[in-house]
């Protein structure tokens, strides 16, 4: 109550906070990252529009790496486990994250899904985000790198329309390049020029899951990202407090 005149008015008190709103998500992402690093696992957040070819590229990746790397995936979708089913058939140890109405994955969803996937002996874990060029860019999942797919059919100026997503990409896979001969109005050079306007370091590889074009350079890029396997690292005892139930 106002103590000067006894009028009964309440006091308004400003409270300086200066806190990142997603700090809880960032904490969980850091926790996931810690898990991945101590196991020497490369985790990649794979993003892109619905239909950009994320699952197809991961299938081609799994086929090319059969016997060389152990691959796992978490496949995020609003509904169905179709992508995880496809990936399992291609030799990927895959689990679905069905988000219901959520348009993106967050670090807690990934953490929760890890409890349902035997991931400790994997070399690569691909986190296939919900098909969306907006929301997934906002959430750190604990990944080592962001890979964004951009199909040649999506339009040359897509990076200019979705600068937040492409700015955060460590690598862009320009997908479905086998279709370029049928798309005379689309130029790979102009797609790359758009990337240069939003990405300070525009790393990109033109790929086709269908013909295999670009798959070897993509595998080379993945190999470069592999963390050093920490010898003698003590596996995390998992004694932390979880904020969710283990179903």
């Amino acid at each position: 109550m106002c103590d000067s005149c006894g009028c009964g008015d309440t006091n308004l008190v400003p409270l300086e906070v200066q806190q990142r709103i997603l700090s809880d998500n960032e904490r969980t992402a850091t926790h996931n990252r810690h898990h991945f690093l101590e196991r020497g696992l490369l985790a990649i957040n794979v993003m892109g529009s619905p239909g950009a070819g994320k699952t197809a590229v991961l299938e081609a990746t799994a086929r090319a790496l059969a016997g060389r790397r152990q691959i796992g995936a978490l496949a995020g979708d609003l509904a169905t486990d179709n992508d995880a089913t496809r990936l399992n058939a291609a030799g990927v140890r895959a689990e679905s994250i069905t988000t219901g109405s959520a348009c993106h994955l967050d670090a807690a969803m990934v953490h929760h899904a890890l409890h349902h996937l035997a991931w400790h002996d994997l070399d690569y874990l691909f986190i296939e985000n919900v098909g969306n060029l907006v929301c997934p860019a906002v959430y750190d999942l604990g990944q080592a790198a962001n890979v964004v797919l951009l199909a040649v059919t999506e339009g040359e100026d897509k990076p200019l329309k979705y600068p937040v997503m492409f700015r955060k990409a460590d690598l862009v896979l320009i997908s479905k390049v086998d279709l370029l001969p049928y798309l005379p109005e689309i130029s790979l050079e102009r797609i790359v020029a758009s990337l240069r306007e939003v990405m300070p370091e525009p790393n990109y590889i033109a790929v086709s899951a269908k013909t295999g074009q670009g798959i070897e350079p993509w595998l080379g890029w993945l190999q470069q990202q592999e963390p050093a396997h920490a010898s003698g690292a003590t596996p995390h005892a998992h004694a932390h407090t979880h904020e969710h139930d283990h179903v």
Binding site: M1, V13, N25, H104, A137
Partner: protein, 114 residues
Amino acid sequence: MHEYSIVQALYDSVMTHASARGAAGTVQEVRVRIGALSGVDGGLLDTAWRTFRVRTPCENAEMVVETVAPAWECPACRLAAPALGVRRCTTCGGPLHLTEGDEIVLDRIVMEVP
């Protein structure tokens, strides 16, 4: 439309700080700072907040959104760069860094204290 999920995190943060202040009063204002390249839309955030705050201690809390324009700089030359165009330094050719414009921050709460 991830703004509802941001608002959920914002609300939790506001209530944590309000409770820590030990006040049984209500929150009157929530001031946030949102970068233009953060991936969050200030207008949608405000709409989501108005829906979310109903029947909570934040029911009367207006959201004030400060939008932060992107600022780019060459880390080597320390020169500011224009907001648009190729993201390389015009002097040394190196990649530019975003120095502000991607923040999603709860700046301040104004609370009613009895």
